[in-house]
Amino acid sequence: MKKIILILALAFLSLVLAQSSYSFKLDDLLETLEKPKPKSQPSKQEAPKQEAPKEQPAQQGGGGLIGLGESLGVFDKKTSRILKKSVGAVQAFQPIGLEEEKAIGGSLALEVFHKFGGMYKNAALQTYVSLVGKSVAEVSDRPEIDYHFAVLNTDHPNAFATPGGYVFVSVGLLRMVQNEAQLAGVLGHEIAHITRKHALETLQRSKLLSGLNGLTMAAMNKDEGLFDQVIDEVSNVLFTRGLDKNLEHEADKFGTEYAYRMGYHPAGLNNFIQILGKSSSQGSSIFLSTHPGPQARLQTLGRFLPRYKAVGLYPILANRYRTTVKGQL
């Protein structure tokens, strides 16, 4: 009898241990298979957010005791600014909120239309690009914001993303793309810049905001010069200097992952970079000129793609792409 009890107790104990190790491994698996974490960038907490709490009312004078001191006349504006910068130097920069992100991204979207050919007015094409883009964004790590897609009326093969969910591809790029999986990869790359907040984090690290502890609508509404400087800074990064090359490699990996999650063949972006790299119009493409060279990108993706096993039957949807897009260009 004692033996039986002992055996049952041991069986129970081993089951507890087995369950615990099973649970641990599943979490690891999700991290490694579904969330690529490039070594070059610190990982971020892209947690899903609960239903939106109401916006905090904007505070005048930057808020806090210093703002109060300023409004009561205890400090003049200059002293107040120096004090805020000193405090900011000690405090960590607070993440830029969604309202601010959309204001910045909206202004940059206007610049995209202004600088890169304006909108290509074709409802069928915008619908198709939006279907591909929105489906990819749905399985990204930030599906809760609205994403907006448009086609640019320029022959240069370009693609852009601005903070807050604005994504653009040019007519020239759509002419070079061969299938829907490639388009999904390109849009995935742009969506990844938004989900990973690459432009905003680059802005936060810029000299413009050094010493400040945050960037609020209240501060930008109060000081129009600040908003102008913010837009100029991010515009310069996105359209001239380019983001840090590690962020571009990160966007390539995440963009590939998002397209794969939606069910597209994961080699789409890789194959499009190959096409663009061989093209004579690559010099006119911001998608290339502000990015690492095609060889470097292909090398990085080449090391990343083998993680996707048994994807031979994943669709590239070349026919649907041809019939939907080619007749509209």
Binding site: Q19, P48, Q50, Q91, Q94, E111, F113, M119, G214, E224
Partner: protein, 166 residues
Amino acid sequence: MLVPLVIFLLAGMSFVSESFAETLYVKKSGTKLQASDSAKSKVIAKLSQGTPVKVLKKSKKFYQVSASGGNKGWVFKFKLTSKPPANFGGGGDVLGALGGRQKIAARESSSGSSIRGLSPISEKHAKNKGISEEEIQAVKQMETFRIHPQEMDKFLKEGRLGEYSQ
């Protein structure tokens, strides 16, 4: 003697199995909880963003889950995340009070659809920079452009994508 012991151990095993089930969270409000591991199956409920679910079984690209309120069903696995919802705990601090920290974590959490349209500051900036009315209208058109859920569903079904992928 032996029968009660076996019952006790079986109950214990069931408890252990439940408590060690993997917990995931819904990424976006409106996520479908379906009757089976197929996109064509009946939609039992729509789950809210951040809802915790316990994974009971895995099949193809679907997870069978148990949601709060006792709802059981299947969810497309890429609509779930292992990251728990963000903690918006306020908790005042001296530096926050001095610098006017404005609970940005909460502002960060604003739902994407709760903030719509080109902001007044963006329109003002555009006019100062000589951006044309046509370009302003282009951004507004982009923001109001909508895809009907049925159109998206048809697109996914025809392409065998998302929930319809194998």
